[in-house]
Each structure stands twice: as C-alpha cells, then as structure tokens.
C-alpha cells in the first residue's frame, strides 16, 4: 500500500511533468521558428550560390557563342582583305591535302572492300549480286566516302591545327606575328580554313575512287568480275544527283573542320595543358559538327 504521502508526491510529480511537458511544447514552438529561419537562410544561400554558378555557366556559354560568331565574322572580313597570303595557302594545301593521302588511301580502300564483303551475302540471298557494284558505289559516293573521310580528317587535320595554333599561342608566336605587322588571323586562320575547304572535297573524291577499287577487290574474293565490267556496272547506277549533293556537303565538311581546328587553337588558354585541351576539343567538336552537317545535308538532299 502506498502511503498518502507517496500518492501526493506521485501526483505532484505527474503534474510537474505535465507542466514541464507543456513548457516543452511552448519551447518546441520556439525552436522550430529558429530552426526554420536557419533552414531558410541555408536554402537561400544555396539558392543564391546556385544562381550565381548557373549565371556564370550561361554567361560563359553566351560569351563562347559570341566569340565563335566574332571569329567567323573576322575570318570572313580577313578573307576579303587585299593581302591574301597565297604562299602560305598553298603550303597548307600541301600539308592538308598531300600529306593526308596515305591515310585516306588506306581508309578509302578498306571502306569499299569491307562494304562489299559485308553486303554480298544479303544480295546473294535475293539473287541480286549483280547489283553489288552499283549499290556499293552509290553508298560510297553518297554517304560513306564523305562522312568517313571527313571524320578521319577531323581527327588528323582539326587536331593538328588545334595543337599547332595552340602551341603557337602558348609560346607567344601569335603575338610575335602581330607585332611584326602581320595579321595572325589572315596568315594562320584564313589560309588554313580555305586550304581545308578545298582539299577535303578532293580527298573525299579520291577516297570514293579508291573505295570502288577496294570494292572490286572484295567482289573478286568470292566471285570473278573484270575491273572494266565492275566499273561500268558501278557507274551505270550513279547519277548526277548522287554526286552533286555529296560534293557540296564535302565543302561544308572541309570548312567546318578548318574553322573548328583553328578556333580551338587560336583561342587556347595559357600553359601547355591548354594545347592538349585545344587539340582534343577540336577533334570532338569537328567530328560532331561533321555528323550534324551531314544530317542537315541529307534532309536537304531528300527534299530535292
């Protein structure tokens, strides 16, 4: 039996606890306000930091975009200036065109060879193996030749330009040129972009031709067809409409590769690391743009 005294004590304790509980509630109301303020402050801070970061990204993006537009405008302006650096232009044509020949020869030949071997079984199944030369020639001239050659050139030429101009920038050679009364844009960029614009279509046509020869070799592994017959069959399927859009788009591929390579190199930062970055991003962007230009070109050709 609990004594009355204990009972009173217990009741007092419970009451005390209730009061404490009530007080606790009172306090609890107070704490969330402070906490809410703190949470709001932290969130506001985070939000403002994020806003600043995003604004910076947007700012950089827009600055880059404006830079590209200005670069192209300056390129066009310098192209039509009185002093065209013809000697440097031909030197660049030689280094872009002639020095890429071995690489493009191998690529072109393998392209035709592989395409023939891969598509032969499907055609044989329908008894349509006589269509093989025509099919390979059309796909080479319309699509495979221009795109694969342009991608190879993006790898070789755009990266070369990015690295060369980038290292010239790092070692103050571009500034030295500017100081000796030579416009570096005119001497370095205009010549390179035009050389790429004129040489890459030639390389593409060359790759197409070697691709058809490669295809003839491929056709002769399992069949027997003379070179003359193969070529006459191939060309009987090719019309002007196959060649013209491909040639036109290859000029665009050339200028895109030249412009991207030069832009990335010319605008490289300071320090040797930026040379690597310039070369790398030149290849990536040039390859991507080649594919995008191709997509647009195909849409336009399709409408014809």
């Amino acid at each position: 039996m609990k004594s009355i005294q204990t009972k009173i004590k217990e009741r007092f304790r419970t009451r005390c606890q209730t009061i404490a509980f009530k007080d606790y509630h009172k306090m609890k109301i107070k704490i969330p306000v402070a906490k809410a303020k703190e949470i709001a402050r932290v969130h506001a801070l985070k939000l403002s930091e994020n806003t600043i970061a995003k604004t910076e990204i947007a700012n950089n993006y827009l600055t880059d975009f404006a830079d590209v537009i200005l670069f192209i405008v300056r390129f066009i302006k310098e192209t039509f200036s009185r002093k065209f650096e013809a000697k440097e232009f031909f030197r660049q044509c030689f280094s872009i065109g002639y020095k890429s020949l071995p690489l493009i020869s191998v690529t072109g030949f393998i392209m035709g060879f592989v395409l023939t071997i891969q598509s032969r079984p499907s055609l044989v199944r329908f008894g349509a193996d006589t269509l093989l030369p025509g099919m390979v020639a059309v796909s080479l001239i319309r699509e495979m030749g221009p795109v694969i050659t342009a991608l190879i050139c993006a790898g070789k030429i755009a990266s070369g330009m990015g690295a060369e101009l980038g290292s010239m920038k790092v070692t103050e050679q571009i500034e030295a040129m500017e100081v000796s009364s030579t416009h570096p844009m005119r001497f370095l960029v205009v010549t390179r972009v035009w050389a790429a614009t004129f040489m890459i279509p030639l390389l593409i046509l060359y790759a197409d031709g070697l691709g058809i020869i490669g295809s003839w070799f491929g056709a002769n592994i399992k069949g027997d067809v003379s070179l003359v017959l193969f070529f006459s069959q191939a060309f009987s399927h090719i019309g002007f409409i196959d060649l013209l859009p491909a040639v036109v788009k290859s000029f665009f591929f050339g200028s895109v590769i030249g412009l991207v390579g030069c832009y990335k190199g010319y605008n490289a930062g300071r320090g040797t690391e930026s040379v690597g970055k310039a070369a790398n991003s030149a290849v990536v962007l040039a390859s991507l743009l080649v594919l995008i230009v191709d997509m647009i070109a195909v849409q336009i050709t399709d409408m014809l």
């Binding site: 060369e164 290292s167 010239m168 070692t171 103050e172 050679q173 500034e175 030295a176 040129m177 500017e178 100081v179 000796s180 009364s181 030579t182």
Partner: protein, 260 residues
C-alpha cells in the same frame, strides 16, 4: 674591363643628346578582373637611352610593354609613342607604329615551323616590302653576323640552344631597323656567361642601330650592364627612378633586396 669600355662608349652619346621623348606614358591603368596590375603608371623613355624596368615577378612589367605595342588594351591613361597615342589608334595606324617598334619576347617566340632564315625573312618581307631578294639576303647575313650566329642560317629553331634562340630572336627584332626595342626579360633562363653576352649584345645594338630601349628584367647583372636609367615597379606603380649608382647606394629596403 671590356664591359666597362663598352659602357663608356655607349653611355656617353646617350647623355649628350637632347632628351627628346619617344615614349611617354601617363596615368596608365590596367586590371585583369579584380586584380589591378598597373595603377597610375607614368614615365618617359628618351631618345637613345636604355631604360631598365626592374620589378618582382607579377609586378606588371610584361603587361606594361604589351600595352605599349597594343597587344593589350589599357583601361585608362595614355601611351604616346612618337607623339601618337597608341590607345586611340585604329588597327592600321597601330600597324604603322608597330613597324618602328621591335619586341623581344621572353620565350624568343621563334616560329617553330620555319628555318632561321625564314624566321628573319618573315617580318622583313612584310615591313620592308620594297626590298629585293638580294637585299633581304644581305640584310639577314648582316644581322646574323651582328649577333654572332652567321652559320645558323638554315637551322630549325628546335636545333638551337636557349642562348642561340635569344640571339636569333634579337636578330629578328633588329632586322627591320626598329627605332625602339622592347626587351621582355632578355636574360631569363640563361647561364651567367650567356646572360652577359646577351647584355653586351643589347648595348651593341643600341650603339650600332641608335635605338631607344626598354629592358624589362629582374636580373641585376643585366641591369648593371645595360642601364642608362632605371625605374623600379612595385604594385603597379613607379617605386623608384634613377641611375644604377643611385640605386646601388639606396638604403631603401625594397631596392636593397634587389641589390644584394
């Protein structure tokens, strides 16, 4: 002793001449972002003198001479070169002024893809377009002999040592007969002997071609050999100005730290 003799021969005419200003810089300011590199910088370069600009790395010395040739645009202030304000010139006018100014880059900045001869021909063909091939060849031979590298004509820059690169670079600067030469740390990265040779070469060029020069350096030996007058930059401002003797005698802490 040879060094003193050269100095004696050189410095006398510079002092005797009437002090006509070729470059006048007043209140030049330049900042990159929040960082103020040059603050209200003012000084003058007179005809025929070698003005050495001393200063710690990052004190804005290179920025200063890049502003003079218009490679960097200043934020405010004026830079008068032969009484033309460089900051207000059009691209073509700036090109004309640049033809009178030679610039020796810190790294040499020789064109890697060209031979020494082509490197020297490059500015010559553009700035002095009227010259025939024979005259160009003669001029190139002359400057190469002046820098003591007549046999390097057909070498590529990658085949040259650091000192040779600096010499060829100097040859490329003087080949177009500039009236002002701006040297950006001409002796950096060279051994003491080659540094001395380059310093003496700078004096020879001043004597032979009657040029006025601004020599940016933090190499005291180079300053001792070449300077007619010195200015010291500190935090983007002119901290001290005077001749080498005055600098050597100075008890100022900052100046003393240079002339140990």
């Amino acid at each position: 002793m040879k060094l003193d003799e050269t100095e004696f021969l050189l410095k006398e005419p510079a002092k005797k001449q009437t002090r006509e200003a070729v470059i006048e810089i007043s209140n030049l300011c330049k900042s990159f972002g929040n960082q103020e590199v040059l603050k209200n910088l003012s000084f003058t370069l007179y005809t025929g003198e070698n003005l050495v600009v001393l200063g710690k790395s990052g004190s804005g010395k290179s920025v200063l001479i890049k502003c003079i040739v218009g490679l960097l645009r200043s934020d405010s202030g004026t830079i008068k070169v032969f009484n033309h304000d460089v900051t207000a010139l059009t691209v073509n006018e700036l090109g004309e002024i640049r033809q009178k100014i030679g610039f020796l880059f810190q790294s040499g900045a020789l064109y890697d893809s060209m031979t020494v001869k082509e490197n020297l021909e490059f500015p010559l063909r553009r700035i002095k377009a009227h010259l025939t091939q024979k005259e160009i060849n003669a001029k190139i031979e002359e400057v190469l002999e002046n820098v003591g590298l007549a046999n390097a004509l057909n070498k590529m820059p990658s085949q040259l040592s650091g000192g040779m690169r600096k010499r060829i670079s100097l040859a490329r600067t003087i080949v177009v007969d500039p009236m002002i030469i701006l040297y950006d740390e001409p002796t950096t990265g060279l051994d003491p002997v080659t540094s001395d040779e380059i310093s003496l070469l700078i004096n020879d060029v001043q004597k032979k071609y009657k040029t006025s020069s601004i020599i940016i350096t933090h190499d005291i030996e180079c300053a001792r050999t070449t300077a007619d007058r010195l200015i010291m930059l500190q935090d983007g401002e002119v901290y001290a100005e005077g001749n080498i003797a005055e600098f050597e005698k100075s008890t100022d802490k900052v100046i003393k730290s240079f002339f140990k």
